[in-house]
Symmetry: C2
Subunit: 422 residues, 2 copies
């Protein structure tokens, strides 16, 4: 491709054009497209696997790690899950066009708000073909056009999926350009995508911290982004110890690589000697390394994988069987620590004390605040959003798990009978 900027400009223009038709598409057409794409994915599983095999061969030749190859691989199960995911999106109610809060004003006009698509959504992600279909599905249902830029290693598979998506859109009478997969692996395409403010309304990056940090620096288009997840559990001295053990174990050990995994455990001084040893027994089985402040280090002196926490540990997202542990005086110190070091993703208090629970909910400034529940619940499906395009650490627009509604906006509608301003 000779001129990336020119190409991306055309992609952007087509997306903007398609977004107009998508915004007024009715629910039946959007659901039909999603169902047709799901059926096509099942029907053409062999074609998709063949395209994926090309990607895998190239990736292996380029020396990708096993972990990356694993994420790139389109298994039978992954293909079935993609199709099911689309059918789940069909079952969600259409958010577009809903009118709320319609009220008469003293002037006689009625004022309310209508939910509308954002327009054109750019999605930048790593070499995971399933994101192509998930993201396309959510954007179609929410009446948006989308420009997808997946990791270059998945280019063949993504192109094969894009063909099925375009067929489904066309058969349902919707514009093919409503979903475009960028056809070049040139990195300049990303640079163009995140700066085309005239054609792209929002960027949703899905990927590691390195990608997001680069995008933050260069983007001119607003982003719904998630940088990192430094999540806390605070065990209060009024905690039920059974709940404390269950939640603190689950929040760390259910999965290590997820953004809603606990990375720092805070324990109230009054109960630290009682709660830390039995909790450490649970972590020991999973070979979790504990990086402790002085006080917790003294309590857990016999723990096999023990280290002294440094200042850096309080702001590290391990994504691994490692946990920072700190003893705090009370809920005040816990809230202060969290508001200082948390990535404002998800933080949970374990307590039976009503006032402290309410204070934690109100005063911890994170996208999800919890009482007596595992941070692992911070997830679009668990919250009942039906599907999730990502998790937002931002405060503007959408905070926490972002579902269909996060891909929409509210405009004002005014109904009059010829009223004029006095």
């Amino acid at each position: 491709m000779d001129n990336i900027e020119h190409y991306m400009n055309e992609v952007g223009q087509r997306a903007r054009q398609a977004s107009r038709a998508m915004a007024k598409a009715d629910s039946a057409a959007k659901n039909l497209a999603l169902s047709l794409i799901a059926a096509a994915i099942r029907r053409d599983a062999d074609i998709l696997r063949a395209a994926n095999q090309q990607d895998l061969d190239a990736a292996r030749a380029n020396g990708l790690t096993e972990a990356m190859l694993d994420r790139l691989t389109l298994s039978d199960k992954a293909i079935a899950t993609m199709a099911e995911g689309l059918e789940q999106i069909v079952s969600l109610s259409d958010p577009i066009g809903e009118i709320s809060n319609m009220k008469y004003r003293p002037t006689g006009i009625q004022v309310g708000q209508m939910r509308v698509p954002l327009g054109v959504i750019g999605i930048i992600y790593e070499a995971r073909p399933n994101v192509t279909v998930d993201a396309a599905g959510l954007c179609i249902k929410s009446g948006n056009a989308t420009i997808l830029r997946g990791g270059s290693e998945a280019i063949n598979c993504n192109q094969a999926l894009a063909r099925l998506v375009k067929q489904g859109l066309a058969e349902a009478g919707l514009p093919e350009d409503a979903v475009q997969v960028v056809e070049t692996t040139d990195r300049a395409a990303v640079g163009a995508l995140i700066t085309m403010t005239e054609y792209v309304d929002v960027i949703v990056p899905r990927g590691g911290k390195g990608l997001i940090e680069r995008l933050i620096k260069e983007a001119k288009v607003p982003m719904i982004k998630h940088l990192d997840g430094i999540c806390h559990v605070y065990i209060d001295d009024k905690a039920d110890s059974r709940k404390a053990l269950d939640v603190a174990f689950n929040a760390k050990c259910h999965r290590y690589g997820t953004c809603n995994t606990m990375e720092t455990l805070l324990v109230a001084r009054a109960v630290a000697p009682q709660i830390l040893p039995p909790l450490a027994e649970l972590y020991r089985v999973k070979e979790v390394e504990l990086r402790c402040d002085e006080e917790s280090h003294a309590i857990l002196a016999d723990y096999p994988q023990l280290a002294v926490a440094t200042e850096e540990d309080w702001s590290t997202e391990y994504l691994a069987p490692i946990l920072a542990v700190k003893v705090v005086a009370d809920v005040d110190e816990a809230i202060e620590h969290i508001n200082r070091y948390s990535s404002q993703h998800t933080d949970s208090i374990i307590t039976e004390d009503y006032t402290r629970a309410m204070r934690f909910l109100r005063e911890v400034d994170s996208a999800s605040v919890m009482v007596n529940a595992s941070t692992r619940f911070a997830d679009g499906f668990e919250y009942g959003l039906g599907a999730e395009i990502g998790i937002s650490n931002d405060k503007l627009h959408a905070r926490g798990p972002v579902g269909l509604e996060g891909l929409t906006s509210l405009k004002y509608v005014v109904l009059g009978q010829g009223q004029v301003r006095q």
Copy 2:
């Protein structure tokens, strides 16, 4: 001031610190502060006028235009209006802490959303002292800390107002740093404010297009902004002609310099020969210049201030007694024209046809879409928001007039009884 960056950094740190206390402040304390400030403004009217006089003397010496001097002047009426504005904000219900949509999930956890402040809001505005008080009031009520950077010509008056605001906050037991007026007129302070992502959560610029364009280029902090208002009225061939004349006259002539003023009039071909001549009679009295496309030009050939519209006219915000006029085939062409040239601010259709009205509402992609109402209604007070920090042309977060709710965000709250993820 030697080191602007260092100074702004300190302002930012203090604001972030104050935002924690403001986020948990109860409604009574916030309302008390607002009432105390209102009383102090009335009490110290002489002091405020004296400070304003200093600004006016300096401005006159610097050769400011009469229009700018006018906006800078703090009249008795303006002082009373500022105090009343604060009292109106007292009467609005507190948006913070409201919990909505609390629902049980199959896992047994309850998930809902709590309305919380955005944190620290930077407001950049021109030499209008009343904005200092309006903005401070809205930020206090919504539990935010704010950094105010007003036009340098108003520095003395703004500092005098800032002292009253800080006294009110302190007397109500709230942190003085919740409202800080930048103490330097150095332009570098703006550059710092719009890039301090660690201390500032959102920038609300209130000013002319030049200011906003500069900020867009340089800002790293997200903005709630309003660039321009190219608003349309479309007179359909099924319009009631009385309503058409009333609205098309009011939308243009009620005030010329406001962003919700109509700048382009579209008229359906079938009724153009009937509706344009009587409408032009109304405009003639106000000496409105009409810039017409070929068809409307032929119809209005006798109009005294007639010009031929150029392509540029369709995307010009005149803010003056000038109106672009175009004949279109039907509602389809009207929607197409609007979605192409509108600044997505406010657009209105005049029609008695139900289907066309519904289509216009759904398909015009603007912050406010209206049927049979003057575009001049696009305003926080007219919409019932009680107060307005500005009007947003953006699609993310807040669209249209932005009231207290636009200065807040929703976080997720999860209530459990020890649940863990399976």
